[in-house]
């Protein structure tokens, strides 16, 4: 109601204003600013509190709120040292092995599906063959299958192999304790969306460039390497960032296929375990959590444009 009453006189005194701006102007300005500032503060404070707590001495964290840290400033990086390298988290070497696992899982689980998806997208867009449209539609439609639908059989396959009756089609591969199941699962689950998005981009590459290359005698393999991949770099980069963060932030796939040990489990799995069992050592919990969100935050603030584009495109994944 207040919006309407304040809006009317303003709009009539400034009729030359561009219309959309007029609507925005119709929210009275100081109130709008205040609302946005308050919401932004609310949105930022929890993360800020986490950061502040992670650099305060343990004894102060246990007895006072983080907001008191500014009246008696006393900061330290000890918590990071403790949580990364020492026995304090119940694992013999702190969180460091889990951080390494996160990287070791994420890098192949980004590179491999992207490579395969780019190849498939090229073939579906530029190699004409019977059934290519149908195949593209099926892959496109696979986006509707939630990961949950695949977890149980895939885990059974990785641990026990595949059998029909008493005939073994694929033997049990004994992959426990390796990254392989996690890489494979992430690769498989990434493909439908990756192929769909890259196909959209690759199908729109200029036709005359492709034809000129074919006239020069370049086959599909050469065209792919020398034309398609270089020209598609922006699309590949956007999706790579999305996939990297998706895998880095994932809990469900990692929990199912990596187990909970320091051999394979990434940061998200370990943190999720610690949330229940870590008592009240908030200076360590916050330091651990901040380490795990640091990589996404760096990616976000340094590559914001690609990041937003990738996330918007991938928002229906899963």
């Amino acid at each position: 109601m207040t919006v309407e009453t304040t809006a009317a006189p303003e709009a009539s005194t400034q009729p030359q204003l561009p219309p959309v701006k007029a609507i925005r102007r119709s929210f009275s300005r100081p109130i709008a600013s205040l609302v946005v500032i308050v919401i932004t503060a609310l949105w930022t404070l929890p993360t800020f509190g986490l950061l502040v707590t992670s650099v305060r001495p343990a004894q102060q964290v246990a007895t006072t709120g983080w907001w008191t840290a500014f009246t008696h400033p006393s900061f330290t990086l000890d918590n990071y040292n403790t949580v990364l390298f020492q026995n304090s988290t119940g694992s013999s070497a702190g969180l460091m092995p889990f951080l390494i696992n996160s990287l070791a899982i994420t890098i192949p689980a980004t590179i491999i599906p992207l490579t395969l998806a780019t190849m498939a997208a090229y073939a579906l867009a530029w190699v004409r063959f019977r059934g290519s449209d149908t195949l593209f539609f099926i892959i496109f439609a696979l986006q509707i299958v939630p990961i949950q639908m695949a977890l149980i059989p895939l885990l059974q396959l990785f641990s026990g192999g595949a059998h029909i009756g008493s005939t073994t089609i694929i033997p049990g591969l004994n992959l426990g304790g390796t990254y392989f199941p996690v890489w494979a699962a992430h690769t498989m689950f990434a493909l439908p969306l990756a192929i769909f998005l890259l196909h959209n981009f690759i199908a729109q590459l200029p036709k005359d460039v492709m034809e000129a290359a074919a006239v020069d005698g370049a086959g599909h393999f050469k065209v792919f390497r020398t034309i398609v991949v270089p020209l598609s770099t922006p699309a590949i980069a956007s999706f790579a960032i999305f996939q990297f963060l998706w895998v880095w932030n994932d809990l469900l796939v990692a929990l199912t296929f990596a187990g909970g040990t320091a051999d394979v489990a990434p940061m998200t799995v370990r943190l999720s375990q610690l949330a229940g069992s870590f008592g009240r050592s908030w200076e360590l919990l916050t330091a651990g959590a901040f380490i795990s969100i640091l990589v996404p935050l760096i990616v976000f603030f340094s590559l914001q444009r690609y990041f937003v584009r990738g996330l918007l495109a991938g928002s229906v994944k899963g």
């Binding site: 809006a7 701006k21 609302v35 149980i152 390796t178 908030w282």
Partner: protein, 335 residues
């Protein structure tokens, strides 16, 4: 102490070297095989060339999708009609179990609350911000800060909020922000938020809203900018101002985008797993469908029941995803 630390650190680093060796070794082998296949297949000529190219480009993807998605999805559907050790055929018993057992009914009710409340709040908040923020100086800063939670994992977000919800005995100084604010507002004895039913479910939804609002804001802000100015101008000529203009003209113009945002957040919410698992483990009356599915399948090894819950999740998410994909596709075509 420093001695043991050094030893531990040493083994940590050698462990790390092995792991990175395996990781980059795998990537290198993968790329090497690919290059070799490209090189070999690129030398083929004549009528085998095209089928060979199709096989090389599409073969791996087709095999992986069959093994990783198509066959498992069919098998999950099949397992949902079998007993928990997959030995006996049960018909629809797993499904009737899900809809008649009172603990699972609670889970379904919680899930329903989640997919109604969290997406609606997220979308409305995102819309309000989209309308307000574009007028401000330094809007890029506000937008970045509100969008930032989107980058953080749900596990990280849960940690951040668990600390906000941390509660101490009222005799001690509080360390959690929410308790402190409650005390400042005059509550003598703030509760242990996470244990307080049914409030805790709503407190968990706050995390989802916190993460997704930036997404809603960015998408809706783009949609608002795309509303043709002459339509707004015409409406203004006809005397629409302020709130009337907003609710009768602008919002109907971006209706499709609003629904896409709503369904997208609904899909994410329906599959919410990480938040509940990290915050409460599904205890204290906060369990939701996706986490119950995980617990049934991988903690209690009730394969039949877990598969039935996965199938229910799939069927629930199906109309939303189809609507969403069709809508996005149509938008892309008309652009």
């Amino acid at each position: 102490m420093s001695g043991t630390t050094a030893v531990l650190a040493d083994s940590t680093w050698s462990d790390a070297a092995t792991k990175f060796g395996n990781t980059f070794g795998t990537v290198a082998i993968f790329l090497a095989i690919l290059l070799a296949v490209f090189f070999a297949a690129g030398r083929a000529t004549g009528r085998f060339y095209k089928p060979l190219a199709i096989t090389v480009f599409l073969g791996p993807v087709v095999v992986l999708l069959l093994i990783g998605l198509v066959i498992p999805a069919i098998r999950t559907f099949y397992l949902s009609f079998k007993s928990d050790d997959s030995s006996r055929y049960l018909g629809f018993k797993n499904f009737t179990w899900a809809f008649t057992t009172s603990s699972i009914q609670d889970v379904l009710i919680n899930t329903l609350l989640w997919i109604v409340i969290a997406p609606v709040v997220t979308t409305l908040l995102g819309l309000a911000l989209a309308l307000l923020v574009d007028r401000l100086k330094g809007q890029a800063v506000y937008k970045s800060l509100i969008f930032m939670p989107m980058a953080v994992s749900f596990v990280g977000a849960s940690f951040i909020w668990r600390f906000v919800y941390e509660a101490r005995d009222s005799a001690q100084p509080q360390v959690g922000l929410l308790s402190q604010i409650a005390i400042l507002l005059g509550f003598k004895n703030p509760p242990n938020w996470i244990l307080e039913q049914p409030l805790n479910t709503f407190l968990l939804m706050v995390i989802m809203v916190w993460v997704q609002t930036g997404f809603a804001m960015v998408v809706l802000s783009a949609a608002l900018k795309a509303v043709p100015e002459d339509i707004i101008e015409a409406a203004r000529m006809d005397g629409a101002h302020g709130g009337r203009l907003l609710f009768l003209v602008t919002i109907p113009m971006i209706r499709n985008t609003l629904i896409v945002v709503l369904t997208t957040v609904m899909i994410t919410t329906l599959k919410v797993f990480d938040i509940v698992r990290t915050m409460t483990g599904g205890n204290f009356g906060t369990q939701v469908l996706a986490n119950e599915m995980y617990s049934q399948s991988f903690v209690q090894f009730n394969i039949g029941r877990g598969s039935a819950l996965a199938t229910i999740l799939f069927l629930a998410v199906l109309p939303l995803v189809i609507y969403n994909i069709v809508q996005l596709r149509r938008e892309r075509e008309t652009r």
